[in-house]
């Protein structure tokens, strides 16, 4: 009977936001936002500065707690997410202004992304005994694979703080990817990049999505990039949702055109 009523699990969205509202000391950042992200899709959040896009990402991985609404991830519904829970459940992210460990090497940065995968005790790790040694090798291999995938091998032992901005962005993506996330949240992964770098980053995001089946939610300002990259676009303006659908549908939505894309001349 239940099969007739409920769709199979794979058809359920990976992530659903329901009636999320968030304010800071009375100033509304996000008002009553609901949308769903299907498993395996690339979903773009677009909107003018201050529309609440980053706040929404912060709600999804628990950096902020919404005052109202629910988040449902893999069918588990909750009113607030905590950063640690989000990471354990397979939500990884990058930040608009980079949040890297600048005093650590590229490899160590990527290894922190695999921190939650370690099972040996700290005593085993300190003495490199028991489960620690084979595990160490496994984590390193996994980290190296990610480093190779994003083509940052030449800098693997370099201090992250000394790398150029574009590479730092890629290291941050590598760290997020190293945790083998189900959901990857990317906050302006191409900000400050030139056209060539943007194309390269777009290709990486597409590759990640295709090869690992990772669901991606990203914020991006470059409409050309967004339309070419995503399966699903959600448009925010002044903390409200004004558009939600395929890139074609959103591009044709008059409200979106007025608020964001600019009137057609």
């Amino acid at each position: 009977m239940s099969e007739a009523i409920f769709p199979p699990a794979s058809a359920l969205p990976l992530l659903t936001l329901e009636h999320i509202s968030l304010s800071f000391k009375g100033v509304k950042a996000v008002t009553d936002i609901s949308f769903a992200v299907a498993r395996g899709e690339i979903c773009a959040l677009i909107g003018p500065n201050g529309a609440g896009k980053s706040s929404l990402l912060n709600v999804i991985n628990g950096v902020y707690q919404a005052q109202e609404g629910w988040i449902s991830f893999e069918g588990e519904t909750r009113s607030r997410m905590r950063p640690h829970d989000a990471a354990v459940r397979g939500i990884a992210r990058t930040f608009q202004n980079l949040a890297l460990f600048k005093g650590m090497s590229v490899l160590d940065n990527v290894l922190t992304g695999r921190n939650l995968k370690r099972r040996s005790s700290w005593l085993e790790q300190a003495l490199r005994m028991g489960r620690a040694a084979p595990e160490d090798d496994r984590q390193r291999e996994a980290a190296e694979r990610v480093i190779e995938f994003l083509r940052i091998q030449p800098w693997r032992n370099a201090l992250v703080g000394k790398l150029p901005y574009g590479l730092q962005k890629r290291v941050e993506l590598a760290r997020a990817l190293a945790s083998e996330p189900k959901l990857l949240l990317l906050d302006e992964p191409m900000a400050g990049m030139n056209t060539e770098e943007k194309q390269e980053m777009s290709r990486f995001i597409l590759d990640i999505n295709r090869e690992f089946g990772t669901t991606v939610v990203l914020i991006e300002h470059d409409i050309g990039v967004v339309m070419g990259l995503s399966h699903h676009v959600v448009v925010l303006d002044y903390g409200r949702k004004i558009g939600d659908g395929t890139p074609q549908a959103v591009r044709a939505n008059p409200e979106v055109i007025a608020a964001y894309l600019g009137a057609r001349h």
Binding site: A86, F95, F101, G103, L111, T112, L116, W122, A126, S179
Partner: protein, 293 residues
């Protein structure tokens, strides 16, 4: 010449005692950017708790374990009631909080165990030992050995384990650490507990040397020049800083003392630290500019 070496090595060994105290500061500074003024009180509290238990007939290792447990409880309380409410505040706010904390811990020590001076016997004789014609204090050698074991253990913990990587991550960028699923609060508890453990070891050695009494909390003042010279964020720096202070103050006392007057030992480390501040403000091994308080 033999006499020179005797003074030099004696000074280096005494310096290890300063390093032990300084390491406690470094741990907390590394993980949270806080200069923990309460480290001295933690040294006092642990030494006093240990010695009071031991005097009441509790065997050495049991007393050690109970004291360690008390330091872990302090770490939990500090995280819950000081660090968590003050997260994201400026370093000076946190520093002021640890200043208050130091009085609370001292007060707690006094309320629990009274204010008498206790002798502490660790079973290590202080007879001088002749090594290659140089007379050395056995107790100092024992302290140096203890410090070596402690530093090795700490560096294994911080370079090889998940806790160590998490600790470096938290110190580097708390927001990023949060995003990769590191629990800040747990790391803070671990770090304060480890600093408590280091405080306990320092407290026992210092207590055996000068007696367990309230002035023990003033060893922080000797740790300050060590930190300025070695850098606030490096355990290796704390060791080297301690050795420099220990050796230079003893040598200055012996060789400069007769020229410009005795008692040099008491102020020489601070002058040295001042010179370092002018020349190398981040210390020998410090990673970045110090928040000077």
């Amino acid at each position: 010449m033999e006499f020179f070496f005797e003074v030099l090595i004696g000074g280096l060994l005494a310096g290890v005692m300063y390093s032990l105290v300084a390491i406690g500061f470094v741990l907390i500074y590394k993980a949270s950017g806080v200069f923990n003024f309460a480290q001295g009180s933690m040294v006092l509290f642990s030494a006093l708790t240990f010695v009071s238990l031991h005097e009441r007939g509790v065997p050495f290792w049991l007393a050690f374990a109970v004291t360690l447990a008390a330091m872990v409880v302090i770490a939990l309380l500090v995280e819950r009631f000081v660090l968590r409410p003050l997260v994201n505040r400026s370093p000076i706010t946190l520093f002021m909080a640890t200043l208050g904390l130091s009085y609370m811990i001292e007060g707690a020590a006094q309320a629990l165990w009274g204010a008498q001076v206790h002798g502490l016997e660790l079973g290590v004789s202080d007879e001088p030992l002749a090594l290659g014609g140089v007379l050395l204090s056995q107790f100092d050698l024992f302290a140096a050995g203890t410090a070596a074991v402690l530093v090795t253990a700490l560096s294994l913990l911080f370079s090889k384990t998940r806790i160590g990587l998490s600790l470096r991550a938290v110190a580097d960028d708390p927001l990023a650490a949060l995003a990769v699923g590191i629990r800040l609060q747990r790391i803070w508890v671990v770090v304060w507990a480890v600093a408590g453990f280091v405080g306990l070891v320092a407290g026992l050695l210092w207590g055996a040397r000068v007696g367990v009494q309230f002035s023990l909390s003033l060893v922080v003042l000797k740790a300050l020049p060590v930190l300025i010279i070695g850098g606030f964020s490096s355990i290796g720096g704390a060791i080297v800083g301690g050795l420099i202070i220990g050796a230079s103050e003893k040598l200055a006392e012996i060789y400069l003392g007769p020229v410009i007057g005795g008692g040099l030992e008491n102020w020489f480390p601070y002058v040295l630290a001042l010179l370092f501040l002018l020349v190398r403000p981040a210390g020998l091994f410090g990673e970045r500019a110090i928040e000077r308080v």
